[in-house]
Symmetry: D3
Subunit: 132 residues, 6 copies
């Protein structure tokens, strides 16, 4: 029977350790969260997903805090408890204030409400929006 | 049989016209998009939802562009075509660049992927995240 | 290449015709809507799903209109255009008024909002609710 | 670090206490469930959401029990554990019988099944439904 | 107040026992999992759903392992903890290897990502796909 | 205003053309479907997603047809019209028969039903499943 418990650094293969090392170096931390330690059971998934996260969540046209808040909004909409916990912590570590979190929650709630209203009423797209 | 076509200003009741007027004044525009014109078939819904949107989407601890981008991210996750069209237009009107939209799409896609991975692997929440 | 166009009565096999006949007899109508005509490409699915619908949507502890309105609420939440159209028509045929539809939409929208808030805030279940 | 534990009445600000008072008066109860006590961390959200719930869930064209059952159906579809617990309790308090709950579950399950079938088969909307 | 605890064989009515017997005979096991023991509170649901599962999950044009893996993929996408646990166990019992599970997770994650990208970008369906 | 129309090969930058070339070489075809032509507006997304798809959908512990059918199942559950069209075509090109498609649809529908039932009933996970 498979064991999907988190794989600690000391137990990990060199391939997995190299990803853990890169996670810690990129984030300038001395620990790795459980998401990666569980993905480590399938090193190909671990390497691929970390490579994607590293590229997508880097500073760019959007700042890292904005990206984290978008991540939180989606994680709530998808009802992923782990993701809400980890990305909320990430957003707070990047400077999200309680007032910002309160407004984020308000937008998340209301967007989910109006999304259903637009669908339920079958609102036709305005011509001006079709021009993008 | 009910007709849920958008209700134009000229056809609207005074109660509905008052909401349309407030929408245009708040947004400093001279038109109202179809979402409101369809909700107008049920004036109680129109008034209540507009009142919520006006409060939640106002400038605050989060700026209006950030709020619009969060709205877009949720609308994509919920698959609401009308909402994607209207809030993408809103985000662009508030200054979202194509580079920002590209990165927003990258975060939306990847968050939806890692949300499923965290759920599918049943990743246990790290103790440090429980402290929030 | 497969053709999934609706299968009309005249073109249907006897097995499919028998289901169509039962649908029309049960509903006291002289036509069959496209959902069934498309499922007819896989008669096992057609028979099984119709048998379920016939049993579940019958009058019982809940009346048929209440059941149709619940169906509409779920179809909106799941964003199924066909289902919204067909079950809204069904609810109206069973007596749903425009005022009822307006309130149904209000509940659908608000439930989707508060669902996300409860998840996003990680609200702990009250002890009294655990007693059910 | 933020503390999102439920805020009890005695610890609450006057603004929050006023909402708690209105909740108890409206429901004719002497307690407030955790949903509101957690939202109380952001009083603007607490006030706004309570104001919406009070309006939407009131007796109207639909009776309160029907509204609660629709709420339960959506909460199940959205997979919100807290919401299922609280609104099921609400529905039972308003008179939902076990037989009604059993039929509600049957409709919820089957609607989620046929929603996917309609989407997966790409069923075209019947002309008669377009007339609404 | 209703008790939705699993109903054990000894406590069950003859109608429920007959379904349990058929589950064990069909699966060639000597126990019944909690899903059925909870549905047993509403025997009509128990009988109907078991009848569906027995028919749909049987060997056919698709083998039982492929069907279980599809079930797992959907359960993850819908975030159903019980379903992930039970159908993962089912897939492993039918021979799913850890390498297969790793690839299944990769497909589940990536499909959820590209689903959102296709929706968010509003990709038009290629003519060749419309021919099916 | 942004133009998100598909970018044809002739109009594409060398970076984009290189991805198109790799798509066609990997699939042994002489055309590229619209998903990639729209992602091409953000070459970083195009390159990253294609790299993921190429790795994940390759033959491995699971065969390509099984992977495509899992993709179809998720796309239906997420209600992505483009994805249903493109991956159904992909599955058929890889040998999916109509009988297999019919059974796939049956599993997709039923899994979505039982997922909701397990959530709505709050079924406790059996101890034997916790051992995985």
């Amino acid at each position: 029977m498979p064991n999907l418990d988190p794989i600690e650094y000391e137990q990990a293969s060199p391939v997995v350790q190299a990803v853990y090392d890169d996670i810690m170096a990129t984030r300038n931390t001395d620990w790795v969260n459980n998401f990666w330690k569980v993905l480590a059971h399938h090193p190909a998934n671990l390497q691929r997903i970390w490579s994607n996260i590293k590229q997508v969540m880097a500073n760019g046209a959007l700042d890292p805090l904005t990206k984290e808040m978008i991540y939180v909004a989606i994680s709530i909409t998808n009802n992923c408890g782990y993701c809400i916990a980890s990305h909320s912590a990430g957003a707070r570590a990047k400077g999200m204030t309680e007032a910002q979190f309160g407004e984020l929650m308000a937008v998340v709630g209301l967007a989910n409400e109006t999304n259903r209203l637009a669908v339920g009423y079958g609102v036709p797209i305005d011509e001006v929006f079709k021009l993008k």
